[in-house]
Amino acid sequence: MVDYVSALSIDFNLIWPEIALLIGASVILLGSISKSFRPVIPAVALISCIVAMLLASQQWGHQGSGFADMVTCDNFGVMFKQIFLIASIVTLFLGFRYLKVKGLNRPEYYALILFSTAGMMVMANTADLVVMFLGLEIMSLPLYVLAGFNRRSLESSEAGIKYFLMGAFATAFLLMGIAFIYGAAETTNLRRIVTNFSYIAYDYNSTAIYFYSGIALTLIGFGFKIAAVPFHSWVPDVYQGAPTPVTAFFSVAPKAAGFAVMLRIFVFGLSGVELLTTAFWVLAVLTMSVGNILALRQDNVKRMLAYSSISHAGYILVAMTVGGADAVSSAIFYLVAYTMFNLGAFAVVTVMETRSGCRSEFSELTGLSKVHPYLAAILALFMFALSGFPPTAGFLGKFYIFSAAVHKGFIWLAVIGVMNSFVSVYYYLRVIKTAYFDEVKGKVTPVVLSPTVIIALIITALGTLGLGFFPQQLLEFSQAAIFGMP
């Protein structure tokens, strides 16, 4: 039971990591007035992320709520905060040179990333639907701006506008869903909704209908954020148009935030709603299959990776369908692993794009193995991880999810998942084939690796391989993350 006395208290220990990021972002925005402050802005952003990381680690193992039960701090939230922070750190590294080359080096980039990350952390740090919504908006508004960050580029502006329009559209449904649930349950606090669940669900008056349509609309709202099919159509255009480091961030962090909230609401909170299982089943199959099938015929690497990120959300939806401790901890494992190798793949694309005139088409990868064997090798590593080859983290992640599904009797779901994974091998290996075996036409533009990108590549490559070889530690963390969840 919740300790309401402490739950009412104002305890800043619960929100220090968020505060650290907000301070960092504000310092950047204010300080950017001075020209001499500008060079240190990336460092400020990096430091505030690392401070937030340390502060979040302090919260590990402490369960608590406060601010009138609006904030709930637990291991589950801390785990996700770390995922967001890793993603933003890598994104900061990726942006550094890219922005300079593209003439986009403005301090707002760093501030926006920090604000958005703070929003995600708010989402993960609460068990209240309204605060979740608040966090979602804090996260999304900077993302809309980031998508259109390259305002001189038509594609980027288009991405910004499309993302904003579709996002606003989806938000409307989400808000309506929360309103319906509030109407039916008379509270927006997830724990109390769950306590009241039996009254609501078996009340055959109109309450139940409001409650269930509330769930449906909430599901849609968050489904948009994780790009579940059929709420995915914005993804390819936005991913392709946005500056590549931003796309890398999109493909990982907001998705993880969406999953954090969905796991909390639907898998832990409303596990009593049996309708959800089938709904997730269908969403998982659609998301995996449509993502993979559409990725097959893409000629642009960014667009291909956009579809691939849709299909990866499908694999995590498999874990959500299955439910239970094993599946959820494997979902968390997969999210961490996916964060690593997907960011890594985008890091390579970022490097490619810093060459002038590069539009990250497949054809521009030819000859990479000749001019830059290390980069080609690391790209191959990420592609193998994305397609789920051992000994990478991608293999273990999929293995844990599918074996959890089989253990719980979702055999067909696992079969469809494995088939999808099989189909995906085609387009991932196509990248490797292009980089290694396709004949070079004309001259290959050399690739310049900056130290910051090298750091990003090293972090992600070590993560991809390290989790593949030594999964035990992360598995224990992800099991501890869901220990004691309702």
Partner: protein, 647 residues
């Protein structure tokens, strides 16, 4: 010191990573410093560990280090853990010691090769894998090393891959080894199935409870493991890859195909001696295969003209001795011979390398002769090694070979017939080795003038390792003197804690007829020494004194000679019986099953996906309103489902 055990394999791995990742970017001096230095440091750590181990009381000599849990799934727990006991201590000393010398030698030998970095990267990787193999504390980790050395062997045999014969030989070695590995795996599965663990310690402890002694299961498991050993250690019927493996650079032949990797099978059997002691039938098979291989390969060695091929068949034959020892439950004698053989055979190969180096890469002994005065150090060291391998008393090979012959006669698992095979082999060995010496170093100089101009003694980096190995070939045997000399067999005593059963058994056996046995042992020893001397005399007579006699003898025995020169046509036999049918079958699988049935199905499936993908792609129009429409359809479906479902 014990906590530094992991450094022994790690150092060569670091060497491999440095040389492998920076291939072609480091100057040769750095490459050789890294490669030799990493193995040298590893040798130093190994020596220190050896003394640590020696300081422990005899029955507590075990240093274990668990780095982390590698696999944990249900009942299968596999650690990445290393185990240093008297047996693996000897192995790491041999591997790092001989390995270090060969690394140093290679610096000189490969000095003119354009792929210097790649060579040393492979060589370091090999050393790492071999150390993992011998230090592993469980079957699976051993298998990792086992496959690792197989891979390096493949890479190094085919090191000069532009040469068709070299890349073919590499493939042959790999494929033949895969057959053996399959046996190893099956044996491992059987053991895991019954014992539920892959740890050597647990398996050894539980085996007597789980398996019926002499029962079918344990016999089959041991035989499967032995199939693995015949592949890796080139025994009948899987020995065919080793002679071809001589296509690799000569130091590789010395390190991998003489001193270390090929002895992995012997090591594996010694490591699992507890299991073999419970399966006498399997032991008998090991002994027979070993003795037969020893004799068979020695006869082929008589008629080879390529200097390295003689040594290759000699290696197969000597490995046969080691298996013979294991087969008669004299495991420590097998390991003893493994060690002395590592010294003198590595020396012989390196000496042959020095000869080939001097002869501008010619390997045919018919084109050599009279090299004694041109290559004095090479000659002296090779002569020492030849005396050692022939079993001249006082040299290392004498002690180890004599112990094997005596055990094959006296052990309760032994038999007179096994002794006879070993005895004849000893004579043949002395004959073909001295034939090699006389053809290469004595007589008229048969090479062409161009080659003759270039003959020179090898540089220091090559001759110093030769001299060190020569010293070891002489004194290496003193640690294992037979009891009848009134000395202590330190070697057997050292290995005693890890070897199950046989020593006590042999002791009681010996006690029963002590007097008779002692005199018998003297008689047999004199007999074999006499045979060896006769064989040497015959070689001297045929290839030095009266070379015409050799020619006429060869004419008289031309049939036998062609058979031997063609290696009993075993390759041709395998070609006709195994490979041809396989090719026909695989052609069927390829043309019919694969191309028509499977590819047809898959291509159909793939084009189906493509069409679906194409069709779906048009839904992605780029217009926000169509996206919103799709979204709304989704909304309607989801909401309808929940609303209808709630009732």
């Amino acid at each position: 010191m014990a906590e530094y055990l992991f450094l022994v394999p790690l150092l060569p791995l670091i060497g491999f990573l440095i040389n492998g990742l920076l291939i072609g970017r480091l100057p040769r001096s750095v490459v050789s410093a890294v490669a030799c230095g990493s193995v040298g440091l590893s040798l130093i750590v190994a020596i220190m560990l050896f003394f640590d181990l020696k300081a422990l009381p005899a029955d507590a000599r075990l240093i274990e280090q668990t780095l982390f849990t590698w696999i944990s799934a249900d009942i299968l727990h596999v650690n990445l853990a290393f185990m240093l006991d008297p047996l693996s201590a000897i192995m790491i000393l041999v591997v790092t010691g001989v390995g270090f010398l060969i690394h140093v030698y290679s610096v000189g030998y490969m000095a003119h090769d354009k792929c210097f970095g790649r060579y040393f990267a492979y060589l370091n990787l090999f050393t790492f894998s071999m150390l993992v193999l011998v230090l592993a504390d469980n079957f699976l980790l051993m298998f990792v090393g086992w496959e690792g050395v197989g891979l390096c062997s493949y890479l190094l045999i085919g090191f000069w891959y532009e040469k068709q014969s070299a890349s073919d030989a590499g493939k042959k070695a790999f494929i033949v080894n895969r057959i053996g590995d399959f046996g190893f795996l099956i044996g491992m599965f059987i053991i895991f199935w019954h014992v539920g663990s892959l740890d050597f310690a647990t398996v050894s402890q539980n085996a007597p409870m789980v398996f019926a002694a002499g029962g079918t299961v344990i016999t089959v498991a041991c035989l499967c493991l032995f199939v693995g050993a015949t592949g890796k250690s080139a025994q009948i019927p899987l020995y065919v890859w080793l002679p071809d493996a001589m296509e690799g650079p000569t130091p590789v032949s010395a390190l991998i195909h003489a001193a270390t990797m090929v002895t992995a099978g012997v090591y594996m059997i010694a490591r699992t001696n507890v299991l073999y002691m419970m399966a006498p039938d399997a032991l008998m098979v090991v002994a027979i295969v070993g003795a037969a291989t020893a004799l068979f390969a020695a006869t082929i060695g008589l008629a080879q003209n390529d200097i390295k091929r003689v040594l290759a068949y000699s290696t197969v034959s000597q490995l046969g001795y080691m298996f013979l020892a294991c087969g008669v439950a004299a495991f420590s004698a097998g390991i003893f011979h493994l060690m002395t053989h590592a010294f003198f055979k590595a020396l012989l190969f390196l000496g042959a390398g020095s000869v080939i180096h001097a002869m501008s890469d010619k390997q045919d002994m018919r084109e050599m002769g009279g090299l004694k005065k041109h290559l004095p150090i090479t000659f002296m060291t090779m002569l020492i090694a030849t005396l050692a391998i022939s079993g001249i008393p006082g040299f290392s090979g004498f002690f180890s070979k004599d112990e094997i012959l005596w055990k094959s006669f006296s052990s309760s698992h032994g038999h007179v017939a096994l002794w006879v095979l070993g005895f004849i082999t000893a004579g043949l060995t002395a004959f073909y080795m001295f034939r090699l010496i006389y053809l290469t170093f004595y007589g008229e100089e048969r090479m062409d003038a161009e080659t003759k101009k270039h003959i020179h003694e090898s540089p220091r980096t090559m001759t110093v390792p030769l001299m060190i190995l020569a010293v070891l070939s002489v004194i290496g045997g003193l640690v294992g003197m037979p009891h009848i000399f009134g000395a202590t067999n330190y070697f057997e005593e050292w290995l005693h804690p890890v070897m199950a059963g046989p020593p006590q058994e042999a002791a009681t056996h010996a006690l029963a007829s002590a007097g008779a046995n002692t005199s018998m042992e003297w008689i047999l020893m004199f007999a074999s020494v006499a045979l060896v001397l006769m064989a040497i005399y015959l070689a001297w007579y045929l290839y030095r004194k009266n070379t015409a006699a050799a020619g006429s003898l060869a004419d008289k025995l031309s049939g036998a000679r062609t058979t031997l020169a063609n290696k009993y046509y075993v390759d041709e036999f395998y070609g006709a019986v195994v490979i041809r049918p396989l090719i026909v079958f695989s052609l069927f699988l390829w043309k019919i099953v694969d191309v028509i049935i499977i590819d047809g199905f898959l291509n159909g499936l793939a084009s189906l996906w493509h069409d679906i993908s194409n069709a779906l792609r048009h839904a992605q129009s780029g217009r926000v309103r169509s996206y919103a429409t799709m979204f709304v359809f989704g909304v309607i479906l989801v909401v309808a489902y929940f609303v209808l479902g709630s009732n």
